[in-house]
Amino acid sequence: MTKKTKKLRRNESVFYADTLVLLLPLAVLAVYRYGLGALCRILSCMLVAVLCEIIGSLLMKCQRDVSDCSALFIGAATALMLPANIPYLIAFSGVSFAVLAVKLPLGGTQSAPFVPTAAGFAFMTLCWSDKVFGYPIIGGAIDSVNGLSLSHMLSLGTSIRPNYANIFDVLTGNYSGPSGAGCIIVLLAGSIYLCLRHRKSVFNILGFLLSCSIMALLFPRISSNYTHLISLLMELCSGVLIFSAVFFVTDPATSPSRPSHRFMYGIFTGIVCMVMRYFSSFEESTCFGVLIANAAWPAIQIRITKIKKKKQIAPRTSSAVKGDAQNG
């Protein structure tokens, strides 16, 4: 193993360890809101992810290091993106798909072209959309009645009442939604922590949020007294958009290395995610947007590099021609 590979692997281990630290307060909030059932789902998903990683490595006869924490991250993130009353089998199949069908066959943590957690969530969305988006009411019986989530309201074109209590509830995730991906304040604090630990990630997150915000302001899906501002608030705080900004867009395997490219990648992913949200038949389609951006970005990066190279070569040739003219 070369020094560069070792360094990359160590960086990724540190990244996933940090993301696990970030997921911890979200898990605590999920347990506080939905009880021990949420904790059981998170822990069992993490266990299944690790088991899948070990079994898959044995089947494929390849050496995979479970200690890089990526399997644990996949399990925990998947459980936190789902409702607290999701059947165990569905959560396990999503985690298994992420590890066995996306992460391991496509090159592992370092070189998987897609974010495995996003792929697992997309798989669950396509197979069991009624369960994946059937969020329980906070404070009520967990399996009784489904609550109305912000993303469902957006898909119906209805808006919240713009008052301080409502806005505070939205920011703290005090409404029906994913068990751990709803608390925006915690997620924003986590993004600051992530940016301090991994400074290049700030470009991804900023680009993503900027493009999403502009799209939400320009093309609101609701009609209200303060349409544009409420649209901005609801679009950013609904579903798993901020969660994706913090955990998926900053994924070290799929995001580019240069800061300018990272920023452009963030912008591109944000636009695709918002377009998917507007036109998809599901109430939450951010994960599809992330996957499309993962697939399309390498081709875009090649074009950008070629254009940059042409721009670099053009002034040199012109200056050389001038120099020849002066000399000759």
Partner: protein, 317 residues
Amino acid sequence: MANDKNRVVLTPSRIFIYGVVVKNPILVQVIGLCPAVAACADIYVASLLSAVILFLLILCELAASALLKNVSAWVRMALYFVMGLIVSSLATMFAEMYVPQIANTAGVYLPLMAASSAAALRCENFAVKKSIRLSFYDAAANGIGTSLVLLFTGFVRGLLGVGTIGEFVVFEKAPISGLSMPFGGFIMLGFSAALLKWFISTFLSDYSHDMSFGIKRAKKKRPPARKTPAPIKKSKPVKKNDVASQPVEVNEPVTEQEEPVTEEPVTETVDQTLITDEFDLFNFSVDDEIDAIMSGLSSFDSILDEISKEKEDSENE
């Protein structure tokens, strides 16, 4: 001798093993995916499409081998599609007469068999170069290989994606409803291809090297080495009449020793009329696409290399 390694003896059993397993049209050669992915979410539809593709392959390859050897290539391609149109029209007509429900479920994919890429490719790569007997074997093998995949896909997708096997309801609610969608078909084919690869590497290990796509990663263009003066070593004083201790020439560029090429001896004696070139037989257009992608990637790598080199140069300056 080197070309002999790529040559295979075409016996009927070998043709069948290649067509059904080692070079399976869908799972290995990745041709004719449309019916498997889009239409085969039910065992009955899969059976109908399997029968049509088998009949189409046999008819096209026999006709190509018997009649089209002296026809120019661009005319042949049109004739393949005409034959496909005849077969698919007949199949559609009979299906609508006798099994209208299945014909409705198959939808547009039954008439679309007229433009079957599998038939055109096998005719062009095999049938027009070989005898009628070998063409028949090849058509049957490829048809059976395609049919097996279609039936397996239809069975599993019907069972897990819809919850039924034909008319029998196994699960009242589909366990994994996503499998009935096209993306489920791709996932099924992916896992089936992995299963097939495991089967070949375990039970048919002699054929495992034939399963590859023949992908060759384009070599990176290395920048020319900078001319640096070679260090001059001080030669030891030569003793008289001592040949072994004579100084070595130091100014010659150091060249890597070439590895000795070992050629495997061909042991079996074969009938020359049955020998054919493997890569001619099982060549398919996917290779070209992959080569193009690989060359694109290598050009991207070379661009990055050049940029980094330019940066280094500017820093050095």
